[in-house]
Symmetry: C3
Subunit: 345 residues, 3 copies
């Protein structure tokens, strides 16, 4: 592909450079080599981009360079994502049902669905068109998977869970394990049967090593377009809205509700039955113990509105000093008290 | 099953309603439909229960309703758990040894033990009666599993670990990986061989994605009846008592000891060699760095007794204000000092 | 093996005891039985060691005992590690390629490489000499594994990742899943293709349930000799130096850099693009939000230099008292103000 063709494919304007130059690859600023393209997110990075051997740089529209050809675009990061897709073709998809795969009875396999080596598909499961079940994954009895979804190796989909279309589940994740709910029965803890399920809507992407428990009754729900990072724990009866972003090692206790478009940074925790409003955000390691209104950003443990928490953190740094100050003030007060002959504790 | 039969099975008193009415199912208050039963934990929820289309409500004995038939019982949550078990029969258990399962030499399979597709059972392993090894699980060489235990898909039981009866291990969990212990050998880190094992006593239930390391020597022990949630990390030589409850993403460093009946909320951490006393509790995200006496509840990082930590958290919220107050006091002291003609720093 | 032979094998001096006595085993102080050897890390533990039924104790050179024979050595913990290796032989390694293993096309198997039951090795993968792929593990297309590496059950190595020699990956870990990077495309979140890889250098050891994402472009790198504990999350483009120690449940956001010899205690988090200097250390649960210079130890959230954080934690415990003190000072100031006839707020 030539630089000119790439510009056209991206809808970008080529500023400078030879449109017929061949594009040999694509890489970030730190790895880019000769003949490859890279990108700069904003004008501040342009210098760094110019110092690389890149053939050309995807750059925002307010950039101009006398050194490097620019692929000028409104959203360089989006253009870079498109360029990665164009220039680095994905490997060939799985094809067909591997002879070692174990397929149960009454399984519906959509057109072009593929099942890899040693994968197991339980009785009555329904796989949509072009679904890919990678080697060593298991689809439980009666589970449903929509068109074009990809289930990576070592994923466990328990019985009866329902995944929409274009869902991706990365290796080792578990969907539909029993929720963690017990009731005391004399001295013993009796497990509350979790007879509900998990519903994962279209275009959800789930990282590696994630665990999503089934509901007691009803369903644990991950809303359309939501993205979940690695090692996240989603307890029973959680309802996550649409287009949320949940970073790594975050944990949700039972019956949490997230509105649409919520963004939680890594290692966040949300206490049971808490509601996080639409568009709310949490900084890394936030411990959300109470409801968060729409659009509010929180931080800290317990989580507080961002500005408040930052003031607290700043004050914390001064806390030892504050104690020293206080002792000095006490001494000055004592001196004043002595001076007027009074005597106070 | 009729409402009357259900009342009898639960040992509950039916207050109102037609004992011959057919029970069509069971669900929580948010999902319950016509003909189904639901439950209210306490009197405050009765109104909400009455507003549902439920056929009848399991309710505590101090409740009375003119709108809904009640299944009156001392412990509604326990009765709900029993009713779930009665009304929603579990799917059929695994049967037999799947032809694709790989069974080693000298394996003892108890009566009715079942091994699923592509599961692997190592040489010399001993499986009790009615043990279920789900598809794609692996039981290491010489591992022992007591009667009626259930090993879900993708579980790894390393060589020689010992599980009691009625143990459940959910998908993707790992029991018996080498502990994380190293010693410096010049510039390198040399792994200390972990030649101990893991002992999981009867009726322990382990969630999905849990990792339990084997002991250096001796055993890492999970005591009878203890329940462990998803993505919990249990390091080498940890000894967890009986009937403990450990919520999701909690981590135990090496050689931690927990007494019986300890309850740890989610994302708790316990430092190495710490002892947590019998019946102690920790709130979510507690960082337990020192021994906790029996029966004490802690919170915070580092964990402190609950009341103390709550006072600190309340004071924290006032900390920026405290600094402002202090500056005002300093100004007033300075004014007093000026007034008496003295001069102080 | 006799006590004398063991002393010689360890390079230790046998002080007291019968060199021809047979060593029956080895165990920690809490489990050691008659005829076995144990070890005491330092002189303070000698009494405890003397009270055990041990045949002899590995002990530091400054120890002397009239009760127990000592294997006197400069580094007892290192000698104990060696003794464990000598006295408790590891089980037999995997042998050959199991008939149920699925081996792709153009796979290179080094001399003595073994592949277990139901393991899957993708097309074009290259396995070095004596590599062990345990049952139910998967090696993706074109992945490379150096000599003597061990891949435990249920590990997923995605396409094209590269592991060095003598690497160990414990059960259920995932290497090479797509990084968690998205860009907004109108209302949707578009995944940024992660076309990079993961490079794991020689002698790295990775615990169970770890997830390591591949880079956007270039590689996520784990440096030679680094040890990673269970349930750690390593995001895309992270570069971890050599001989680092990363304890359980730690999480790295994207593009973090760690120098050589960094030690992170459990449940630490490192924010994206942060650099942690060579030899730096973090206490448990640290939240590293800014660059850490070489050799500095940090603690807390946000992480601060250790001494500073400890002073803050101490002051925190006094915070409620500080507020009470402040109210008392305010009262004394008010009294002084009244005394001089002034009137102040």
């Amino acid at each position: 592909m030539t630089l000119g063709e790439l510009a056209e494919a991206l809808g970008a304007e080529l500023k400078g450079g030879d449109p017929s130059a061949e594009v040999l690859g694509i890489a970030g600023l730190e790895e880019v080599g000769p003949g490859q393209i890279s990108y700069v997110q904003d004008a501040r990075l342009l210098r760094r981009g110019e110092a690389t051997p890149a053939l050309a740089l995807i750059a925002p529209e307010d950039c101009a360079s006398e050194i490097k050809p620019l692929l000028s675009t409104a959203d360089p990061r989006l253009a870079f994502a498109h360029a990665l897709r164009i220039l680095v073709p994905a490997g060939p998809p799985l094809q067909g049902v591997h002879p070692t795969a174990v397929i149960g009875e009454d399984v519906a396999l959509g057109e072009g669905a593929a099942v890899g080596a040693h994968a197991v598909v339980g009785d009555g499961a329904r796989l949509g068109a072009r679904v890919q079940i990678h080697p060593l994954a298991i689809v439980g009895r009666g589970a449903q998977i929509g068109d074009d979804s990809i289930i990576h190796p070592h994923v466990t989909l328990y019985e009866g869970v329902r995944l929409g279309a274009r869902v991706i589940v990365h290796a080792g994740s578990v969907v539909g394990s029993a929720g963690f709910g017990y009731v005391e029965d004399g001295e013993k803890l009796l497990h509350i049967p979790h007879v509900g399920t998990v519903v994962i809507e279209d275009e959800v992407e789930i990282g590696a090593g994630v665990t999503i428990d089934r509901a007691t009754t009803g369903a644990t729900v991950i809303g359309r377009g939501t993205k979940i990072d690695n090692l996240v724990h989603v307890a029973h009866n959680v309802k996550i809205g649409r287009n949320c972003v949940v970073a790594g090692q975050t944990g949700f206790s039972g019956s949490v509700t997230l509105g649409d478009g919520v963004v939680l940074a890594g290692q966040t925790g949300v206490a049971d039955h808490v509601t996080v409003g639409r568009g709310a955000k949490a900084g890394a390691r936030a411990a959300i113990t109470r409801d968060i209104p729409d659009g509010v950003t929180v931080l800290g443990n317990p989580a507080r509105p961002l500005g408040e928490q930052l003031r607290i953190e700043a004050a914390l740094g001064k806390l030892p000093e504050l104690r020293r100050e206080m002792r000095k003030l006490a001494a000055r007060i004592a001196a004043l008290e002595r001076a007027r002959g009074g005597k106070r504790d």
